[in-house]
Symmetry: C2
Subunit: 156 residues, 2 copies
């Protein structure tokens, strides 16, 4: 375990204290919520292992653990769309990370080509069951130009 992380000793320490004592789950990862620092838009939901969290803290650039590729993932290494971390938060029981970032280049964070991964809205209440609504009408980049024939990470 990294020297940056403390052992979890009590609920009081974890919830009310000033020691970073993150909880990694049974698979060794912690979920990360990434939002745009300026607009508050949710860009990504991903995971970090201890190494990714330590690299993010030390470099100030977002690193994740890719569950599909099973490797450390410096976001933007392929696409150039590096995420600069302006604020990094941890929640009450220290099992979730919130990262507020500025994205380089076109500002996109989604492998499909949209700015946010969350480009579709689910109709509610009396509209339940209607078609999803697209909230971004145009892609920010062409994923084939950026990623070529790399395998699509989406799994059925």
């Amino acid at each position: 375990m990294s020297s940056l992380f403390h052992e979890r000793k009590s609920v009081e320490q974890v919830e009310e204290g000033c020691e970073l004592a993150p909880k990694f789950d049974a698979l060794g990862v912690i979920p990360v919520v990434t939002t745009d620092f300026h607009t508050g838009e949710l860009l990504m939901h991903a995971y970090m292992n201890p190494e990714a969290l330590e690299k993010t803290i030390r470099t100030g650039e977002a690193h994740y653990w890719s569950r599909s590729r099973q490797c450390l993932w410096h976001k933007g290494a392929t696409s150039g769309l590096v995420q600069k971390v302006l604020d990094l938060r941890i929640d009450d029981d220290q099992d979730t990370i919130w990262m507020r970032v500025e994205v380089a280049g076109s500002g996109a964070s989604c492998h499909v080509g949209y700015r946010s991964c969350f480009y579709r809205s689910i109709p509610l209440r009396e509209d339940a069951g209607s078609s999803l609504l697209f909230k971004e009408l145009e892609k920010t980049f062409d994923p084939i130009a950026v990623y070529g024939d790399a395998p699509n990470p989406t799994k059925l």
Copy 2:
């Protein structure tokens, strides 16, 4: 499975289509990111099972699956701090939900008493390893007055 959810047939359908085809994980849940509709602040990171997602869609009020209590959880049923859903999004591969809400009452969403669960910041770069910084200086409510002696959901 709910009549609201479609079978996952292809990457094209899941990423570029208008059918709601959510992916629940091996434990039968999907992660949910809940932000304040007006400020963009991250309030919670939690989970839904199919029933919780369907109830959220049909009622427009946030329902979760409580992993610690193993039951459907209508947020605000105990505290009165109901979350009204103003926008519900799903991501590219449909394995994460983003919920933008307005919170009733005091506006708090955290069982420790703060407005957001993410009330502490992790120092970065040359400050790596320093103490966590509190970003909310006062609690919004007294958790003992609201929850009494109900067991604390935080696990070590």
